[in-house]
Each structure stands twice: as C-alpha cells, then as structure tokens.
C-alpha cells in the first residue's frame, strides 16, 4: 500500500519520484528501524562496559588478589589497615578535603553572591578571571606556592628583602589545602552562581512585603533557594580535593594522602596490588559522596518546575562597593598567584639572577619530553575533544531521545554519570590492569585480551580522558537535549524520516553551543590533567602535564613552571576561541533564537 502519493498531486504521484534513491532509502530503512535503535543502545552499553565497568571490576579483583593473582579476600586490606604509615593517609585526605570544602564553598558562595545579588561593575570580568584555575594543571598550584611561600618565595622573603617576609609552613597540609582551595573555588563559584541565578524574584518581593529584614531574607529565601546548589558544590569540592594528586605531589612534603600513596605504590614501588587497595580505599568516600549527591539532587526536580521571575538588583553603594572589594581581593589573589608562576618561569636563576629570559622554556637537557610533550598534549586534547564530544553527545542522544529499551537506557545513563565519582588515578590504574592484561583464564581456558593493542598508545590516553571527563560532557549534552521538544523525534518518525537524519539536521545544529562547550571542556581538561595519564603514557608519547610532574620530580621546578604556563596559556586561547565561535554562532542563529 502506498498512499504517500499525495492528495496534492492527485493519485499517481509515484512516477515523479527520483529513481536513484534505492541505496539511500534502504539505508534509511535499516538505520531507521527499531532494531537499529536497539543495536545502537546496546553498542553504547557495551562501550561503557568496556571502558568503565570491566576496568573497575579488574581493579577490584586485583585488590582482592595477591601478586600471583590468587584470590586472597580482604587480606590486602587487612595488611593496609595494619600499616599505620599507609592508613594514616585516610585521615589526612579527609582533613584536606573537609578543610578545602569548608573554605572553598563559603568563598565561592560569597563571590557568586556578589555576582548575582549586587550591582557591582564588570561582573563578567571578575567571573572570567576567577575561572583561571580551571585552565591550570593542579601541579602548577603547588609550584606557584613554592615561589610564594617556599624558603625563597616572594612572600617568605618579603619580595627578596624589600619588605618583612612572612614564613608559613608550606610543605604539608597547609600547602595542599591552599592549592586545593584555589583549584576548587571556581567550581564552587560556578555551581553556586547558577543556583543563585535561578532563584525566584517573587520570593524576595514576598519576603520584603512581609517585612523581613536582610538577614532574615538571607536565611529564609536565599539559602533555602540554593540548597541543592550548596549540596552539589559541597560534594564537588570534596571529591576534587579528596582525589587530587597534582598539588599534593608538589607541596605535600611528608604529609601523605591517599592520592599520592597510590602513585607512590604504583610508580615508586611498582606495587600494583597495594595501589589497587589504596584506590579502593579512595573510591569509598568518593562514591558515597557521589551517591548522596545523586539522591539529594533527584528530589530537586519537582521544586524548580515552575517558571520564576528573574531578580533585578537595585543599586546600593555600600553593598556594591563592599562586593567589589571582596571580589577584587579574590581575583587579585588569583592573578597574583598565577602571575608569580609566570614571573618565576621567566626568571633566569631564582632567587639569585632575577633577570628575565626564556631559558626555562627551552626544556633541553631535562626529562619530560619538552615541546614534543607539549604538542602531544595538544594532539591528545584535540582528539579527546573531537571523539569525546561525539561519544558523549551521541550517548546522551540515545538516552534522551531514542525511546526504546528503557532498562538498557537507564543503565547507560547510570554508567555515564558514574565517571564523576572516579578519580583520574583510579581510572589510570584500572586501565593498566584491564588493557595491559594479555588475556584472562576462564576456568582453565585462556581468552586473549582483544583490547591489549591499545596499551601504550595515544588511543588509550584519549580513551582515559574521554572516560575521566565523561559525566560533565554527558550532562551538558543531555541538558541541551532535554530542552529540546521530544516531539521533534515523533514528528520525524511520523514523516518516515529516520532518527539519524533528524539528529544531523535538527538536533545537532540546535544544540551546537552545547557541543562546542563540551569540546572545549574536553580539550582544556585533557591538556591539564595528570592523574589518569601519568600511569598510561608511554615513553614515545610524552605529555605536557606528565612532563611538569617529572621535571618537578627532578628538581627542575622553573621548567615545570614554564611548561605549566604554556598549558594555561593554550587553554585560555582555546577557551577564547570557543567564546568567539559561540558568539559568531549566536549571531548567525539569532534569526531562529529570538522571540
């Protein structure tokens, strides 16, 4: 039966059709069918199992086995907890994470409050500058601290004797916490400024009409309105500070924490089993934080359903000036912090020859790989951005828009947000175990590992980055897709247009800003990350971030600093390019966005 001939053409519209469309149409039929959708969802599931579940499972198994691969139950964990030099790190990590959270969240809140509740000038500038730490490897935070608070640091020596110096106990918990606060502050600030931005102005008007003062309004309207944001900020800061490895590696001194213990066990002593055990110990609080956050965030859905009226702030000279002073101080500190790093990378011999030059940017005669490493990192960032964006967007698309096989899709969703709870070191170690295995014995039958060829290649680095930053990409794409009318797919279905055509003609173009956002996120983070790749890079693919770690290890701090500066600079340029693209895109799509 063919009734598509059409009323408009009258009966017999058939002959007018294009004849050479056989292939195209057969492809439509295959790709557009329900079976194809199921296959795609199944593929997404298999992909996540291979890159998330199996490596993690292998890691868990390793933590329960001895060096020979025999199952020993919890023996390794018993050994771990019996050795105080190791288990002491749990407390240390918790202290660092809680202290960081306790400082970064209020700081982030104050900053975002100033951005959203006052009329202080140049908000966008303050916000952009406060985001600086997002572009830097956390190793740089430690390195910059050495140049500020080390024995020969600017602050310690009072700018080389110009003013009285202040001595602070840099190496240890103090240095780590300061680094982590700088690292997590922008994250808290971003989350909270989004939360503050969606608060309903009518609530403030109601409170004012009921005679509530500023303080009462703050506690009855402002705080409850952002409680989910606060919870989120709390857990994000906690997880980041709890699992970060870069800064503690540089300024940890003899203050051992879990993340550096994993590294020490794996790289320093090549004790992979104990590395797996510490990884598991690291995962427990992280996963708990992740689960609690998930549960709490799920309650939120009902609350925000109603449309709210945006808040318009009224000028208030005192408040606005105070806000300006606060934000100014924060931004100045951040700028001074990275400014010091830039300066230190240019000084010839700190602190003896303060003349400036680019000698530390030559990277000759030291480890790490120099510019080869830098360009490898750029390539890796690029690959991760392109492939990571494609994969996360497509997964999000399958989860949000292809409404078949609900249970399978929910599993895909869960596995897509799970990486948020996985520290880079854990991913790196799990990948060593899983991808480096030559095969597995299943009841006496040897099954070779089909993924073994990835080990030691650029591909596994890109893969680890894709997974490490999967959740943010996935959630960004998924939010963009959620905002799109679900009926788009139905309309296309009804017209017999296969879903992939709608994906390319409608869904992708409409969500292009989100796609670009995800890509730039992937690039920036892949450039800066050290934790996952430090276990996975191979000698012929050196990476910038690993080079920073190795140069710092070898004592070439100035060059490590120089490399970090290059990374930050590249990331800022990429981010600016992104903003430019988005702006151009907005101008181009203005026609269909207005109204």
């Amino acid at each position: 039966m063919d009734s598509r001939a059409g009323v408009m053409d009258g009966p017999g519209g058939g002959p007018g059709r294009i004849l050479n469309q056989g292939l195209d149409q057969r492809l439509d039929q295959i790709l557009g069918s329900e079976a194809a959708k199921r296959v795609l969802i199944l593929l997404a599931l298999v992909w996540l199992i291979v890159v998330v579940v199996l490596p993690l499972g292998t890691l868990l198994l390793k933590s329960l086995s001895d060096n020979q691969g025999n199952f020993v139950g919890l023996a390794n964990f018993v050994a771990y907890f019996k050795s105080p030099s190791l288990s002491r790190s749990i407390g240390n990590s918790l202290v660092v994470a809680f202290a960081t959270t306790a400082i970064a969240v209020p700081l982030g809140f104050a900053f975002s409050w100033c951005l959203t509740r006052t009329c202080m000038p140049a908000k966008w500038l303050f916000k952009s500058l406060a985001l600086m730490p997002l572009f830097a490897p956390t190793l740089l935070n430690g390195i910059a601290l050495i140049y500020l608070f080390g024995r020969k640091g600017l602050i310690t020596t009072g700018f080389f004797g110009a003013i009285p110096g202040i001595k602070l106990p840099l190496y240890g918990s103090f240095g780590i916490i300061v680094s982590e606060v700088i690292y997590t502050f922008p994250q808290a600030m971003l989350i909270l400024s989004i939360a503050l931005a969606v608060t309903d102005a009518r609530l403030y008007e109601a409170a004012a009409s009921l005679g509530a003062g500023r303080v009462r309004t703050f506690f009855t309207v402002t705080l409850p309105g952002i409680k989910y944001g606060l919870v989120s900020a709390f857990f994000v800061c906690f997880i980041l500070a709890f699992t970060d490895f870069g800064a503690p590696k540089v300024v940890g001194g003899n203050f051992n924490i879990l993340a550096t213990d994993i590294y020490k066990q794996v790289i320093g002593q090549q004790n992979f089993i104990m590395g797996a055990v510490v990884s598991m110990v690291l995962l427990i609080p992280t996963c708990m934080a992740f689960i609690i956050d998930r549960i709490i965030q799920q309650r939120q859905v009902a609350m925000i359903a109603a449309k709210s009226v945006p808040l318009v702030n009224k000028p208030d000279a005192l408040r606005d000036n105070l806000a300006l002073a606060c934000c100014g101080l924060v931004v100045f500190s951040i700028l001074a912090f990275y400014g010091t790093a830039l300066y230190a990378s240019l000084v010839k011999v700190w602190p003896y020859k303060l003349s400036l030059g680019l000698s530390h940017y030559r990277f000759t005669g030291m480890g790490g790989g120099g510019y080869a490493a830098f360009f490898n990192s750029m390539r890796m960032g690029l690959y991760s951005a392109v492939l990571g964006t494609a994969v996360t967007f497509f997964t999000a698309f399958l989860v949000e828009k292809v409404r078949v096989w609900d249970r399978c899709r929910h599993t895909v969703y869960f596995l897509s947000i799970l990486p948020l709870a996985l520290p880079g070191l854990v991913i790196g170690l799990a990948y060593i175990f899983f991808y480096n295995a030559r095969g597995w014995d299943f009841f006496g039958m040897f099954v070779p590992n089909p993924f073994n060829f990835l080990y030691g290649t650029m591909a596994i680095l890109v893969l680890s980055n894709i997974v490490h930053f999967y959740t943010m990409g996935f959630l960004t794409a998924s939010t963009a897709l959620k905002q799109m009318d679900i009926e788009f797919e139905h309309v296309s279905d009804a017209m017999g247009v296969p879903f992939y055509k709608t994906l390319f003609r409608i869904t992708l173009p409409v969500s292009l800003p989100a796609v670009l956002e995800v890509a730039s996120y992937y690039f920036v983070n892949s450039m800066a990350t050290v934790s996952a790749v430090i276990f996975l890079y191979s000698a012929d693919i050196p990476l910038a971030s690993v080079a920073i770690a190795n140069m710092d290890d070898a004592g070439d701090t100035a060059s490590a600093c120089a490399m970090s500066v290059l990374v930050v600079f590249t990331n800022i340029v990429v981010r600016l390019l992104f903003l430019l693209c988005t702006k151009k895109l907005k101008a181009r799509t203005q026609a269909w966005k207005e109204g």
Binding site: R4, R17, V491, S492, A494, G496, V510, W592
Partner: protein
C-alpha cells in the same frame, strides 16, 4: 456511516499498574473528523499516540483501512501529527519545516510545488523564509498543520492543536482547520480537553474518562443526552440531584419533592434499582412567578446572580435541607420581565422531558462540578 477507515478494537494500554486505556473500541469512517474529549489524564492522548504508533497497546487491535497496524512503527503508518507544542524545528524556516518529510522522496521541483501549494492552502504565502520564532502562534500552528499534511497522510492526528493560542485566534483556526480537513477529505482524530472545540469542529465526539470510552456520539447526542453524570457534568453545566428514590415508573422523590421524568430514556434502563440521580441543564429550567405552580414546579428563592454577557446565571435555593443550590440560565429579558432580585421567591419548573435520570452506578461518584469532573466515574449500562 461509511465503512470504517480506522478501527480500535478493545485497545488497552498499561503503564506499570496504571491502565491508561481500558478496552477502548471505536471506529472512524473515511474523511470523518473525530474528537476525543476528556479531562487531563483520561487517556485521550494515549489513545492518539497508540493510533499514531508512538506507543504500542498492551492489548487489542488497531486497524487502518482494514489493515492491522499493531506493532507497526509510526513511520510505516502514514499518519500526519500536529503536536500541542507544534514541535517546529527552530533552525529551519517555514518552508523547510514543511518540506522536511519530502526531502529524498520527491524531486526538488516537486517539493517546491507541494510546499507552495500547502502554504497557499494554509494561508502562509510569503512566510516561507521566516523561522518559527519569527511567526505568530497562529502562523506556527499552520506551519505545523502544513507539515503534517505534506506527505498526504491517511490519518491526521491533532493533539490539543489549539490550546497554546489566544482565545480569538483559536476560534478562527477552529473554522480553518475544519474547512481544510473537509477540503482534503482526510480522516482526522483530534484530542482536546476543550468541549467547545470538540463540539464545534468534530463530526463525532468520543468522551473519555479514567482510560475508558464513556460515550461516542454526534455533538448533539453528547450534549443533549449525556450517557453518564460524568459526561453530563463535563460538557456544559448540569444540576444534579443525588439519592432520588424511585416512587413510580417515571417519578422520583428527592428530599420530599416529587420529580417526574417521563421523557428520559435512561429511566427505562434502571431495572430494579430503587434510587437514581436526576439531572437537568441550567438552561432547561424555567423560572415562573410564584403563583404559577404545576407539575415539577418547586418554590425557590434567588440567592445569587451572575452576569455572563448573553445570559444571567442564577442560583436558587429550593429551601429544603439536603438539596443543593440550583443553577439556572435565563436571558436578560426574562430577568427584567420577572423583576428578579436576590431573595425573591419564585417557582422553578423542571420540564419533565428535560430531566435526565442516571442509575445506581452514577451514584457512586460523589461531587460533580462543571469545571472539575470526577475522575472515577464508571461507565454505566
């Protein structure tokens, strides 16, 4: 009616424990315009989606043109759908939206011709290069309609097509859609919660509630002889008298008052039941001067008056415990002629042929109100 073009046969759809559709059966003739009417959550949209193939029924059959389409995806059913949100692609202009399903199926020349024809037909000429966000709500609606019609579907499915529009535009578009539908002769199913829309546009109205099809009839049948108290209350206004005791074949007693209802066909269906619910529409009640007593005439006192433009909505107390206020619609002239003012005693006359009688099952549901009908009314008979 012609041979059925679309048939639903005992269609049931469950979402977990919830029965969204419960044994729904109906059919539509070729070229017929059917409207499915009901409160939100009654299952009407689910019915539409099952017909479209966007959902698949748990049980029962859907036939289009005699062919069982059960399990067939939407892309194979040759249906055109207009969604409540229109779902116009924001990045494509009006022309490209309309041409969306045509690409790859027809030559460029044919597509242009078809699109021009559709734009002309829907009164969109000259709007082709505008993006949806640059069009008014009514224009967007037309684009959605033109897009749905582009592939000359066998069935046109409209899901609350006018609910997003201003009242005025809505009234105009009702007419336009109906005219277009008749011109093209496409079998159309429209889902709506707006009784006026259903009554004015459709050839036949299906009233649904709680997943069940309650009544299937022409607009007149639905309005004049609602099958259940639910239908009666959902469409138009209605006065109900619950717990009427049956005192004769056609006479009932409520709170000591005897009401005769000889014309009601439902009364015959009561069987052995000894209680019933009586109902009468506000516009059917006559207001008489106090001295004009007679059959089905009851003394009453005017409590409130509501000016509604073309009529007055009056509320009377029958001054008997246990009886609700009685709503009565009268013209302004009648109010003036009778000199009606609040607290003024009068006689209300219920013309016996206008009194409807509902059996026991109708009694189970409690409070019917015009705007918020009960959810758990069971179909009776």
């Amino acid at each position: 009616m012609e041979k059925a073009y679309l048939t639903l046969h005992g269609v049931t759809k469950t979402f977990g424990p919830v029965k969204a559709l419960d044994q729904v059966s109906f059919s539509a003739g070729k070229g017929e315009f059917l409207s499915i009417l009901g409160p939100s959550g009654c299952g009407k949209t689910t019915a539409l989606r099952v017909i479209a193939g966007l959902e698949h029924q748990s049980d029962g059959k859907v036939l289009i043109n005699g062919r069982d389409v059960t399990g067939m995806p939407v892309s194979k059913r040759n249906v055109g759908i207009v969604f409540q949100s229109y779902a116009l692609f924001p990045n494509l202009n009006a022309e490209k939206n309309i041409a969306y399903g045509l690409r790859g199926r027809f030559s460029r020349h044919q597509i242009n011709k078809k699109v021009a024809g559709l734009m002309d037909l829907t009164g969109l000429t000259g709007m082709g290069h505008k993006f949806p966000s640059q069009l008014s709500g009514g224009q967007q609606q037309r684009v959605a309609l033109a897009r749905a019609m582009a592939l000359s579907p066998d069935l046109l499915l409209l899901d609350e097509p006018l609910s997003a529009l201003d009242a005025r535009v809505r009234v105009r578009l009702r007419r336009e859609i109906r005219m277009l539908q008749q011109k093209l002769g496409v079998t159309t199913i429209m889902v709506t919660h707006d009784q006026e829309e259903a009554l004015t546009m459709a050839d036949r109205v299906l009233v649904m509630n709680g997943g069940k099809l309650i009544q299937d009839g022409t607009p007149e049948q639905i309005y004049q002889t609602p099958a259940t108290p639910f239908v009666a209350s959902f469409i138009g206004s209605m006065n109900f008298f619950k717990g009427a005791a049956r005192v004769g074949d056609y006479s009932f007693e409520v709170a000591g008052k005897t009401i005769k209802a000889p014309g009601s066909s439902q009364a015959l269906d009561l069987g052995d039941a000894d209680t019933a619910t009586l109902a009468i529409r506000p516009e059917d009640i006559k207001v008489k001067k106090l001295d004009k007593a007679g059959e089905n005439a009851f003394p009453a006192v005017l409590k409130t008056m509501e000016y509604r433009g073309h009529i007055f909505r009056l509320a009377f107390s029958l001054q008997t415990r246990g009886l609700p206020l009685v709503k009565v619609d009268v013209s302004g002239e009648a109010v003036a002629a009778l000199g009606l003012t609040v607290d003024r005693p009068v006689h209300l006359v219920f013309p016996p042929d206008r009194v409807m009688v509902y059996g026991r099952s109708g009694l189970e549901s409690s409070d019917w109100v015009d705007t918020d009908p009960p959810q758990a009314v069971r179909c009776h008979g």
